[in-house]
């Protein structure tokens, strides 16, 4: 089970308190009707699904109830950092320097 540091509650909490929300930073188009079928399919269904660092959304469902983003490695499951919803995608290199990895 993961221990996930909620950026609002500011403490690590067990995974079962959270709900996974899929890949982060997939922005809905400002003009959805103007999208081509291919672009809409990409937004709806296509995912990067990387073997490595993954930016993903979580909701602290049984805690503060709020959404935030986490950067987790999909092989080691290590969470290198979390940040509040709406904040820009952090630079992975900075995290890795701070975490010494």
């Amino acid at each position: 089970m993961l221990l996930i540091p909620c950026p609002y509650c500011e403490e690590p909490r067990p995974e079962i308190e959270f709900r996974y929300g899929g890949e982060a930073h997939i922005a809905r188009s400002a003009d959805p009707t103007g999208l081509s079928d291919a672009a809409l399919a990409d937004y709806l269904y296509f995912r990067s699904n990387p073997k490595g660092w993954h930016y993903e959304r979580w909701q602290h469902q049984s805690g503060c109830g709020r959404f935030f983003n986490a950067v987790r490695h999909t092989v080691t499951d290590r969470i290198i950092g979390t940040y509040k919803a709406g904040e820009p995608k952090p630079d992975l290199a900075l995290y890795r320097v701070r975490a010494g990895s």
């Binding site: 089970m1 993961l2 995974e15 079962i16 709900r19 996974y20 899929g22 890949e23 079928d37 291919a38 399919a41 990409d42 709806l44 269904y45 296509f46 995912r47 990067s48 699904n49 990387p50 073997k51 993954h54 993903e56 987790r72 999909t74 092989v75 080691t76 499951d77």
Partner: protein, 416 residues
């Protein structure tokens, strides 16, 4: 050497010293007509049918680790074809018909055992959903019948149908022709038969890049054992499909999750069939060794760790102990995870890609084993002719653009 009664007698007289290796552990050649990435059941079946039915024998099957060591060796070996949508019924029933004669076809005992698959209903919604499946299956000529709780218990005597269960058993759908097969034997049997037809099975050979020519078509793969030229490439990489397809510059509508399974210590035969429950999320059968084989769920998040969270397995074991009180004192011997690639509509993707010469067979999610022969058969035809086999035709990658999804979410055994 063929397996036959005569050869068995001859080998018995010679002290069983004459059995050779069952397939060649080949060295890579410089070029092949078709390169298949992934030597699991689906990839090996594809190679076998390409050689046996389409006369294309200059094939390499590349495997980054050992043959059948991915999801082929990690699943719970359940076979059934009681799907809801017509497209899926055709696909899985195609596989079912191949299962019925597979041991003869391959001259290899895959231990296909149609012992019946029982799917339990625990509430009014389950009853209606399962009955809908039964009617849909009947219309398609696929066997599936409704049992009352008492009839279900008569079919599987260790099933607990007490009315005071938290999730009581209210009835069940039974597919008699469903059952299990020996997963390793399926990989070995296809490998042996394909190897005899000249297919090179190359283990410990990880693909690191896909090279494309000036016209955009595939030319070669770079591997940990050197460059291998290929006229056509078939990607059958299950949970790692997104990673391999990214080498050709393609994004996929896939997410990879660890799906867990467990086996108990071996016991005498207690479980005559397969029992599945979608609602409380547990399924169980008994292997010929006597272990109870239990399927658990997937982790909620994308992961390539072949393990999975303990709370997922615990959740399933709680349900198993309730449904089968006889298991309560059993020890679990092993648990493990396999990385399953899940599509948004829970149906596979079989066919062409935007890259010329590159074909993909993926997205089988939590239920690919049962489809192994059918998947290989239709994918081989697709690869050989460059157009989708009629049964594979609805399962295109393009359906996510056109919107012609095949929504099997309700039919999947494992909740996603």
């Amino acid at each position: 050497m063929r397996f036959s009664f005569g050869n068995l007698l001859r080998q018995a007289r010679a002290g069983h010293t004459g059995w050779g290796p069952q397939w060649r552990d080949a060295e890579p050649k410089a070029a092949y007509d078709v390169v298949i990435i992934g030597a699991g059941g689906h990839g090996l079946a594809t190679a076998y049918y390409l050689a046996a039915e389409h006369g294309i024998c200059n094939i390499a099957v590349l495997e980054k680790s050992w043959l059948g060591g991915g999801n082929t060796g990690r699943n719970t070996t359940i076979i059934r074809s009681n799907y809801l949508c017509e497209e899926s019924e055709a696909l899985y029933e195609h596989a079912m018909k191949l299962w019925e004669t597979l041991s003869d076809t391959l001259n290899y005992n895959v231990m296909y055992s149609p012992r019946g698959v029982l799917m339990l209903a625990h509430n009014e919604h389950d009853i209606r959903s399962l009955k809908r499946h039964i009617h849909a299956n009947r219309l398609a000529g696929i066997d599936n019948e409704w049992l009352t709780a008492a009839q279900a218990q008569a079919f599987c005597p260790i099933l607990n149908i007490d009315a005071d269960l938290r999730y009581p058993v209210l009835g069940a759908a039974l597919q008699h022709r469903g059952g299990v097969a020996r997963h390793d034997a399926v990989a070995w049997g296809y490998a042996r038969a394909a190897s005899e037809l000249g297919v090179d099975i190359i283990q410990n050979c990880e693909v690191t890049a896909i090279r494309r020519g000036t016209d955009g078509a595939v030319e070669a793969v770079e591997t940990s054992r050197g460059r291998i030229a290929a006229k056509k490439i078939g990607v059958v990489a299950a949970g790692h499909t997104s990673v391999v397809m990214a080498m050709a510059g393609l994004r996929m509508p896939l997410e990879s999750f660890p799906l867990q399974a467990l086996v108990s210590e071996p016991v005498k035969p207690v479980m005559p069939c397969v029992v599945m429950s979608n609602a409380i999320h547990a399924y169980m059968s008994q292997s010929d060794k006597g272990e109870l084989v239990i399927g658990a769920g997937t982790d909620a998040y994308v992961s390539y760790a072949q393990a999975g969270g303990l709370h997922i397995a615990t959740h399933t074991l709680e349900a198993i102990c309730e449904l089968f009180p006889v298991t309560r004192r059993l020890k679990m011997l092993r648990n493990w995870g396999g990385i399953v690639d899940v599509t948004p509509d829970r149906s596979p993707i079989i066919g062409l890609t935007p890259v010329p010469g590159l074909f993909v067979n993926c997205g089988w999610g939590t239920g690919g084993f049962k489809a192994t022969p059918g998947s290989g058969h239709v994918f081989a035809a697709t690869l050989a002719h460059g157009v989708p086999h009629p049964i594979a035709a609805p399962f295109t990658l393009d359906r996510f653009r056109t919107g012609r999804l095949i929504d099997e979410a309700a039919a999947a055994a494992v909740s996603h």
